[in-house]
């Protein structure tokens, strides 16, 4: 009756076999070792396509300039030309079908991102004309006087 000593071993091996069988059905077929090897490339290859399928939200200024040529031409002659439209107006997504309107953010906070005066030596921030937010017309929307598409002196209301 020597075999009785090995009986627990058979039970364990049986359980291992069950796990291996379950594994065959559970693990997706594209899972494996890919180009970067086992350390960095152990993954489900189909996931790469999942990520590629995410919808693009920001379309870029070229997307806006044909329909909104007036705003585009106006801003292009000013220092604000470097700002893409979607920075202030949010992503175009499927505009004009969806969404039909893009937000117009009139808050002071939007302008203060660049125009709070921070004269930091060695930083490009020092080159931007700015104000002290608590000193310069606090509480009033910037656009009451300034035109973001024509922020020059002639655009001042």
């Amino acid at each position: 009756m020597k075999s009785h000593v090995l009986r627990p071993l058979w039970v364990v091996l049986g359980l291992v076999a069950l796990v291996l069988i379950a594994r065959f059905f559970y693990v997706p077929k594209s899972f494996g070792i890919h180009e970067r090897g086992y350390m960095y490339g152990w993954y489900r290859a189909a996931n790469v396509d999942d990520w590629k399928k995410v919808t693009v939200k920001y379309q870029g200024t070229d997307y806006c300039k044909d329909c909104h040529s007036d705003k585009y031409e106006s801003i292009m002659t000013t220092p604000h030309a470097i700002i893409p439209c979607e920075d202030c107006h949010g992503p175009a997504l499927g505009h004009p079908s969806d969404p039909p309107k893009l937000p117009v953010d009139k808050s002071r906070g939007l302008c203060l991102r660049c125009h709070t005066s921070l004269p930091y030596p060695t930083s490009g921030r020092a080159k931007i004309m700015g104000i002290d937010p608590d000193g310069h017309n606090p509480g009033i929307e910037c656009i009451s006087c300034h035109n973001p598409h024509k922020p020059t002196l002639e655009g001042l209301k």
């Binding site: 020597k2 000593v5 627990p8 559970y26």
Partner: protein, 417 residues
């Protein structure tokens, strides 16, 4: 609230995505696996090295280790953001990660302990199953008992002297293999932390060894404590009325056995305690001596913010006082209980100081994060990652152990080898 935001308070310069992600459940996990490993090593001291005085304790420790084994994965299950996907560790393990070892190590260890228990209690299973097999009219409970014990025999009914001797040999082999596996079980937990180069406090090759040493300390301490408690219960029962056990042992007999077992076990506890303290102090001294980039912020955490947690709670109360208590001659049960309680507290604080302490400073080395353990649970998150969750895990082994002692009786002198 993002995960971790609720119990993290940031100070000075901390990266925006930094929170205390590994909270109290990650403190509980190495604590519980440490108890598992420690209890098993204690049991093996008898089976492998033949230290006869530990015979009583050995049986007890092995069953307790098995009960703890089922509790040990619970902190992980509670911590995972996707607990049901936890099975992925068995399905697609990435062995470059220490956590992936969990699947193999736990399964291997579980198999070893279960097999060892089978060999140890096989005779008892046969002795319960056979009379039930003969009995014609079984009640529902008896049917259940019959089913359980019959399957536990795994179809082997031979209990002759020869087979029992083979059982003993198998137990010895399993216990011997089991020691390195138990060390691995907890060593890998230490490796999980020690290999994270991004965390300046965790990164040290000493971490796996420190964890193993303190794990053995905690395992021995818990077994001693539970042993004392159960022995006291038996003494109380035998002095109140006629003993319910088949073998009526007098209170004096029980007390005599108890003190001897505790004295021997305490010697081993002391040994490993000294080892654990030595390694931890070594780590601290090295850090201060080499003073690398992270030393400024780590020093401010160790000697400043966490001074009480580390030096008072862990080193003084958790290590120094038990050291003195066990070194003084004439060890009494009362002193032993105090000592092991402090030891268990000290080991818990060590896990706390590693896990929470490692997240007390920012990756910037120029900021700090304060951990506020959620005390009152008002939703699932505050339960599982709060005091309530930690306490549930801490208390879970005891009812489990009670259930297991019904199948693997711990004090029945005749039922096992």
């Amino acid at each position: 609230m993002v995960h971790g935001e609720l119990w993290t308070l940031k100070e000075l310069f901390v990266y925006p995505n930094e929170y205390i992600y590994w909270s109290v459940q990650i403190v509980m996990y190495p604590f519980m696996t440490g108890l598992v490993a420690g209890a098993f090593v204690l049991s093996s001291l008898y089976h492998v090295f033949g230290i006869k005085q530990l015979r009583e304790m050995a049986r007890f420790a092995l069953v307790f280790s098995f009960a703890l084994l089922f509790v040990a994965p619970m902190p992980i299950v509670l911590h995972l953001q996707h607990p049901f996907r936890g099975v992925n560790i068995f399905m697609t393990p990435h062995f470059t990660s220490a956590i992936a070892a969990f699947g193999i190590v736990f399964s291997a260890y579980g198999a070893i302990v279960a097999s060892e228990l089978w060999f140890l209690y096989r005779k008892h299973f046969v002795e319960v199953a056979l009379p039930l097999k003969e009995k014609q009219d079984k009640g529902l409970l008896e049917w259940l008992k019959f089913f359980v014990f019959c399957s536990l025999t795994l179809g082997v009914y031979d209990v002759s002297e020869e087979t029992l001797k083979r059982d003993e040999k198998a137990i010895r082999v399993l216990a011997a293999i089991g020691i390195p596996v138990a060390c691995f079980l907890h060593g890998y937990a230490g490796f999980i932390f020690g290999s994270v180069k991004a965390n300046a406090l965790w990164m040290t090759p000493l971490m796996p060894v420190i964890f193993i040493m303190s794990a053995i300390v905690s395992g021995i301490a818990l077994c001693m404590l539970t042993y004392i408690v159960t022995m006291e219960l038996r003494k109380w029962v035998s002095s109140r009325k006629k003993s319910p056990y088949r073998y009526s042992e007098s209170k004096q007999e029980l007390a005599g056995v108890e003190v001897n077992v505790i004295k021997i076990t305490a010697k081993y506890l002391l040994m490993f305690l000294v080892l654990a303290i030595t390694l931890e102090l070594l780590d601290l001294i090295f850090r201060g001596y080499t003073a690398v980039k992270s030393w400024d912020v780590i020093r401010s955490v160790i000697y400043g913010r966490d001074f009480t947690d580390i030096f008072i709670l862990q080193y003084a109360i958790g290590n120094l006082i038990p050291l003195v208590l066990f070194l003084l001659p004439g060890l009494t049960i009362r002193r032993a209980v105090l000592g092991v309680c402090f030891v268990l507290f000290g080991v818990f604080m060590m896990r706390w100081n590693v896990v929470i302490g490692g997240q007390a400073f920012s990756l910037t080395f120029a900021g700090y994060m304060h951990y506020h353990l959620p005390i009152v649970p008002y939703d699932w998150e505050t339960f599982k990652e709060g005091l309530a969750g930690a306490l549930s895990i801490a208390l879970m082994p005891f009812p489990l152990f009670w259930v297991m002692s019904k199948i693997f009786p711990v004090f029945d002198a005749k039922g096992s080898h």
